[in-house]
C-alpha cells in the first residue's frame, strides 16, 4: 500500500464517523423539521416540505424571547468566567513551575464528579432553606433573605461554576508562553504595571481570551441542565424550550427546527474560533 493510500485511509476514518453519526442524523432532524406534527402516528411526524416550523420560531414571541435570553445569559456568564478566570490563569502561569501542576489539577478536579451531581449541589446551596440562606440567618446578616434559586442569577452562577475550567485552561496556555522579558522591557521603557498589562499582556493573550470565551459561550447558549435545575420556570433558555417541545408537547418537528437553528447560529462563533486558532498557529511558526 502506498503512503498516499494509507494517508487517505487514515483521513477516511473520521470522515466516515462524521458522516454516519453527524451528517446522517442531521439529515433526519432536518427532514423532521420540514414535516408537520401528527400526534396519531409513531413517531409523531408527517413528513413533507413545510417551512412553517421555522417561520414560527421567528414570529412567535416566546421563541424570540428564548433566543434573546439564551444569548444574554450565555454572554453574561462568559464575561463572568473571563473576569474570574483571567486572574486565576495569570496567577497559575506566574506560580513557580513546581506548583503549577497542582494548581492546574485543582482547576480540573471538579470533572472527577458527575456534572449533574455538581449542579444538584447548587440547589442545596441556593434554595430557600439552603446553606447560603441558613448562613445569612445564623450570622444575622439578613433575617429574611431572598431566594436565589429559580432566578437568572442562579443560572449565571451555575454556568460560571461549571464552565470556568474551559476559560482558565486556554488562558493559562497563552499566559504561560508569555515571555517575562517583554514585561520587563515594557517596564524599562516607562510603562507602569497597569500600562504594561494593557499594552503587552492583554493583547498577547487575546488568542486565549477568544478561545476561552467561545469554549464557554457556545455550549452555554444551548445549555439545558443548568437552567432546568437552577433557573426554575421563570428562566427562558432555548435549550429548555427544545426539551419542552420534544418531551412535554411531543412536537418533534418544532423541536427539530429549534435544534437546526441553534446549530446554524453557533456555526458563526465556531468558524471564528477556528480562524483564530489557525492564525495563532501561523504566528507560532
Amino acid at each position: 500500500m502506498s503512503s498516499k493510500t494509507s494517508l487517505r485511509a487514515v483521513i477516511a476514518v473520521p470522515y466516515a464517523w462524521l458522516a454516519v453519526f453527524f451528517l446522517l442524523p442531521f439529515a433526519l432532524v432536518l427532514a423532521i423539521a420540514l414535516g408537520t406534527n401528527d400526534p396519531d402516528s409513531v413517531p409523531p411526524v408527517a413528513l413533507g416540505f413545510s417551512l412553517e416550523n421555522f417561520a414560527r420560531l421567528f414570529t412567535d414571541k416566546l421563541y424570540v424571547a428564548a433566543w434573546l435570553s439564551s444569548l444574554r445569559i450565555a454572554a453574561v456568564s462568559t464575561l463572568g468566567c473571563l473576569l474570574l478566570g483571567y486572574p486565576m490563569a495569570y496567577a497559575i502561569a506566574r506560580a513557580t513551575p513546581a506548583r503549577r501542576p497542582l494548581l492546574l489539577m485543582l482547576v480540573v478536579l471538579p470533572f472527577w464528579t458527575s456534572f449533574l451531581i455538581r449542579v444538584y449541589a447548587w440547589i442545596g446551596l441556593l434554595s430557600e432553606n439552603g446553606m447560603l440562606n441558613q448562613f445569612l440567618r445564623w450570622s444575622g446578616l439578613s433575617d429574611h433573605p431572598g431566594t436565589i434559586l429559580g432566578t437568572e442569577w442562579a443560572v449565571h452562577l451555575g454556568i460560571i461554576y461549571a464552565y470556568l475550567p474551559f476559560m482558565v485552561l486556554p488562558l493559562y496556555a497563552t499566559l504561560e508562553k508569555l515571555d517575562v522579558s517583554l514585561l520587563e522591557a515594557a517596564s524599562d521603557l516607562g510603562a507602569k504595571p497597569i500600562a504594561a498589562f494593557l499594552t503587552v499582556t492583554l493583547p498577547l493573550s487575546l488568542p486565549g481570551i477568544v478561545a476561552g470565551c467561545l469554549l464557554v459561550f457556545i455550549p452555554a447558549v444551548g445549555e439545558f441542565v443548568i437552567p432546568d435545575l437552577l433557573g426554575g420556570t421563570r428562566t427562558l433558555m432555548i435549550g429548555k424550550v427544545l426539551w419542552d417541545e420534544f418531551f412535554t408537547n411531543s412536537d418533534w418537528p418544532l423541536a427539530s427546527a429549534v435544534a437546526i437553528c441553534l446549530l446554524v447560529l453557533l456555526v458563526g462563533p465556531i468558524a471564528l474560533f477556528q480562524r483564530q486558532q489557525a492564525k495563532s498557529l501561523e504566528r507560532a511558526e
Binding site: E184, D188, L189, G190
Partner: protein, 331 residues
C-alpha cells in the same frame, strides 16, 4: 572632572544560597562605553539588571546622575536597556516598538513620529518601520532593539550581551557601528559581555568580574599589560604564568617573548623544543616545551613572506625576556 554618572556602593544580591553579587563598588564616567566582562554566573548580568531596576539589591546603594535610585522601580529610572533576547513586542510593528517608550511619556503624536523616524534612521532601518519583528533578520531585530532603547535618550543605556546572537561577520561590523553611535550621541553605555575580545575592542574602560566581585577595573590597555591578578591575566588574552619566587608569579604574553635559534641576550632565557605550530597567516603560535618552565606559548608576527623565516616543529629554540616585559603578580 565632572561627577560620575553612576555610583555603585557596596551592592550585594543573593539568590537562595548563591551570592550572585558580593559587594561591588564602581563608578562609571559620563559619556564612556563601559564594559562588564566575566564568565557565566560571575554576576555581571545581575549587576546590570540592578542598574535597570529589574532586580533589587539586598544591600548597598545605586546613585544615577546624583540621585539615589536604589529602590526606584524600572519605569521611573532614566535608564533604558537592550535585552539579550531583544524582547521586541511581537504584536507591534517596528515603529510601534521603537515608539513604545515615547508613548508612555504621553508625548504628542507628531513628535513621537519624528523621533521614531530619527531613531530608525540612526540604525539604518528607516524603510522597515511597518514590518513586524517576525519579518526581520536577526541583525535587523538587533538594531530595532537598539533603536528602541536609545530613542528616549536615557542617561544610561544598558546592553546585555548585545552582539551574542549575531553571527561572527555581522558581529564585527555591528561592534564598530555601536561605538560610532555611542560617540555620536554622547550617551553612556554599559555593556555586559562574556567575550573579552568584544569588551577590549569596544570599551573605553572595563571591569572584570569573577564570583560576584569586580577583580580589576581599567582601560583595555591597563588590563592587558598590567593585570592585577592571575585570574585577569588568564581571562584576558593569553598569558604564560609561572612562579618566580614564593607566592610571586610572572604573567608573560606570548608576543612579548623573543624566539630565536641562539640564546638571546635577555636577562632570562630558556631553551626548548617546538612541539606544536598554529600558523594563522598574520602570525604564528608556537607551543614550546622548555626544560625549566614546562610548555610555553610564543607568537611571532609573520612580517616576511619567506618560508625560511618560520621555525619548524621539533626544532630546538631559545626563549628570552626581560623582567619588565611581563607583569609580576602577588596573588
Amino acid at each position: 572632572m565632572t561627577a560620575p554618572i553612576v555610583k555603585i556602593e557596596g551592592i550585594a544580591k543573593r539568590y537562595g544560597t548563591v551570592q550572585a553579587v558580593a559587594g561591588v563598588d564602581l563608578e562609571i564616567e559620563r559619556g564612556e562605553l563601559f564594559a562588564l566582562l566575566g564568565g557565566s554566573g560571575c554576576g555581571k548580568t545581575t549587576l546590570l539588571r540592578m542598574l535597570a531596576g529589574l532586580e533589587t539589591p539586598d544591600s548597598g546603594r545605586i546613585v544615577i546622575d546624583g540621585q539615589d535610585m536604589t529602590g526606584v522601580p524600572p519605569h521611573r529610572r532614566p535608564v533604558n536597556m537592550m535585552f539579550q533576547s531583544y524582547a521586541l513586542f511581537p504584536h507591534m510593528s517596528v515603529a510601534a516598538n521603537v515608539g513604545y517608550g515615547l508613548r508612555r511619556e504621553g508625548l504628542p503624536k507628531p513628535e513621537i513620529a519624528t523621533r521614531v523616524a530619527e531613531a530608525l534612521a540612526l540604525v539604518q532601518l528607516q524603510t522597515l518601520g511597518e514590518r513586524r519583528p517576525s519579518q526581520l533578520s536577526g541583525g535587523q531585530r538587533q538594531r530595532v532593539a537598539l533603536a528602541r532603547a536609545l530613542v528616549k535618550r536615557p542617561k544610561l543605556l544598558l546592553l546585555d550581551e548585545p552582539l551574542a546572537a549575531l553571527d561572527r561577520k555581522l558581529r564585527e561590523g555591528t561592534r564598530f557601528e555601536m561605538v560610532r553611535l555611542q560617540e555620536q550621541l554622547g550617551l553612556t553605555f554599559v555593556v555586559v559581555t562574556h567575550d573579552q575580545e568584544e569588551a577590549m575592542s569596544m570599551a573605553s574602560r572595563l571591569a572584570v568580574m569573577n564570583a560576584g566581585r569586580i577583580v580589576q577595573t581599567g582601560t583595555p590597555h591597563d588590563l592587558y599589560e598590567h593585570p592585577a591578578t592571575r585570574f585577569v591575566a588568564d581571562f584576558i588574552g593569553v598569558a604564560n604564568i609561572f612562579e618566580v619566587a614564593a607566592s610571586r608569579w610572572m604573567a608573560l604574553r606570548p608576543e612579548k617573548i623573543r624566539l630565536a635559534a641562539q640564546r638571546p641576550d635577555t636577562a632570562h632565557a630558556v631553551s626548548g623544543k617546538i612541539v606544536d605550530i598554529a600558523y594563522e597567516g598574520d602570525r604564528s603560535l608556537y607551543r614550546v616545551l622548555t626544560e625549566s618552565r614546562g610548555v610555553m606559548l610564543v607568537s611571532t608576527t609573520n612580517v616576511t613572506r619567506t618560508r625560511e623565516s618560520l621555525f619548524q616543529r621539533g626544532q630546538s629554540v631559545w626563549l628570552g625576556w626581560n623582567d619588565d616585559w611581563g607583569q609580576t603578580l602577588d596573588e
